[in-house]
């Protein structure tokens, strides 16, 4: 097991290195430097001043030196400073956005799993039933519905027509002056739609996956054995089959992390929520290289850690994986 974990960790470190190099190249080789952009805003800035800026940001050095500097700072857990005039440390800018995005995503994931797992299992158990067909229709519709469009429709319905829910931000302007209970409700009413949209995106995929996984398990010999022993269907399905069918979900959770973060970009843009997704869009438009780099590194790092944790959990519960991993 230790060899397995060591091997996974070594691979992850190498992969992380590859990811940062790739991200660094993508960002820095693109035409249009941030200094040009800032100069456009200040028409009186001279070429010399631009050079000063480039020097300040380290953009005058060759790319590999810039990357080396960035990496050596990263090792000391320093992501550098923002290129924006505020010049704040990147980590500080990202850190203040993490709680919002993370808590929204956590709630979304919980909702997705609570709904999708039973949905998929029932659909598989009663295959070809009306319920199964209904969920299939729902899954196809779910796959095909653009989340930002659904968000718009719900904003029109609940925000504009009915006037029940606010359509942007996390709090009302007068939040500070509200009594505590009203504050809670205010916050809730702001996050209901974003959470619904965020969860909606993942629901179809996961329930489909769960259904497939369950169908796969039901076909196995040990299920037939359990049935042949005369165990009641309920026990066979929900004890023997379900346990095995839920296993692969662990991997899916790891793999779905980038999707969730990508989803945050859209949800946070549509609902004007001050999270990491919104910061990403703003920094990309402003050519704030260090912040973009920092966000890409953190999200990719999180995904990698998530994936590896899933691998390790999987290896813990299923020895076949460990052995196969060693031979690969």
């Amino acid at each position: 097991m230790i060899a397995y974990i060591t091997r996974l960790t070594a691979i992850s470190v190498l992969q992380m290195l590859a990811i940062t190099i790739l991200a660094f190249m993508v960002i820095h080789l693109a035409p249009g430097e941030p200094t040009v952009l800032q100069q456009d805003l200040q028409a009186r800035a001279t070429g010399a001043q631009r050079e000063t800026l480039r020097k300040l940001y380290g953009l005058d050095k060759p790319l590999h030196v810039q990357y080396g500097n960035w990496l050596s700072r990263l090792v000391r857990l320093d992501l550098g400073r923002s290129f924006l005039p505020d010049g704040r440390p990147v980590w500080e800018k990202i850190r203040e956005r993490i709680p919002v995005t993370l808590s929204l995503n956590l709630v979304e994931v919980c909702i997705i799993y609570l709904i999708a797992v039973p949905l998929g299992v029932f659909a598989a158990v009663r295959r070809h039933s009306f319920f199964d067909q209904l969920t299939t229709v729902f899954v196809f519709l779910g796959f095909a519905t653009p989340d930002f469009w659904l968000a718009l429709l719900l904003m029109i319905l609940f925000g504009v027509q009915l006037g029940w829910l606010p359509i942007s931000g996390l709090r009302s302007l007068n939040w500070e002056y509200l009594p505590p209970l009203a504050q809670v409700w205010d916050l809730l009413s702001h996050v209901i739609l974003p959470i619904f949209i965020g969860a909606f995106g993942g629901l179809a995929g996961l329930s489909r996956f769960m259904r497939g996984s369950m169908l796969e398990v039901i076909r196995q010999d040990y299920i037939r054995t359990a049935q042949a022993k005369g165990l009641p269907d309920r026990v066979v399905l929900y004890k023997h089959a379900l346990r095995n069918a839920v296993l692969p979900i662990v991997t899916i959770l790891g793999l779905s992390l980038p999707g969730l973060i990508g989803g945050s970009v859209i949800v946070e843009s549509v609902f004007a929520i001050p999270g990491m997704g919104q910061l990403a869009v703003q920094s990309v438009f402003a050519r704030d290289y260090p912040v973009v780099m920092g966000l890409l590194t953190i999200t990719a790092g999180l995904t990698l850690v998530g994936n590896r944790l899933a691998d390790i959990c999987y290896g813990l519960v299923d020895p076949r994986i460990r052995v196969a991993g060693r031979n690969a």
Partner: protein, 288 residues
Amino acid sequence: MSLAVPVSSVGRAAVWRQLRKNPFALVGGVIVFFLSVVAVAAPLLAPYDPAAYDVTQLLLPPSRVHPLGTDQIGRDVLSRMIYGARVSLAVGFVAVGIATIIGTVVGVVAGYYGGTADMLIMLGGVDVMLTFPRFFLLLTVIALLQPSIFVIMAVIGVTGWMGVARLVRAEVLSLKERDFVVSARALGAGDLSLMFRHILPNALVPVLVSAVLGVAGAVLTEAALSFLGLGVQPPTPTWGNILTDGKANIEIAWWLSVFPGIAILVTVLSYNIFGEGLRDALDPRLRQ
């Protein structure tokens, strides 16, 4: 050197028979075809010039004159949506083409050579690319490169090949030990010929299916980018940027938000249904 290539076990007639049994897939296929016609024949079908604005006709709700209403500078929404189909499908097709070519080559090479090459490609290429939050990466690249239709096609394609690569690799792994490959090798076929003339043709069915499904994904991605202002730029109409106008006028013009979304939904839905139906018809192993 084509003697060793086994003919696919399903003939065209059999595929057609299977497809016909699946009315949903057929409807999907018909809509897929219809959408392509709309995109190609846009100038003939659109009742108005999609760029013609009319300041006397601002934000009109759907009526007989403008079936889907007008936008904030008085352009006909139906005409803009018909032209929008061009952008969506063009991006969908080209992006998927790029992704499929890259994915196929990568997958064949990884599966065929195996060992260290396979490990390097899968762990170093596929896994690394999968670890990036794709949408964020797209956003970054497109924002930095200035969005044009070609940049968008290329970037969606270059960031979307990993699924195909995995698929092809798995197929190749199982195919390369088969008798017809072994005998072709014994007859002196080289690596390239084995990979692309003997093995690949037998792995094309899943690739085709994943390409059809891929178009759906690419259309969705393009629409999302466009909605965020990073797609094909206005005044070129896209479904996504009409929705952006819809958001800007959310309190007064619901039709700007509703119709383009339906177009995206129907497109994605029919490609998905058609793709799944095609898979069931083409791949006897999946038939239940």
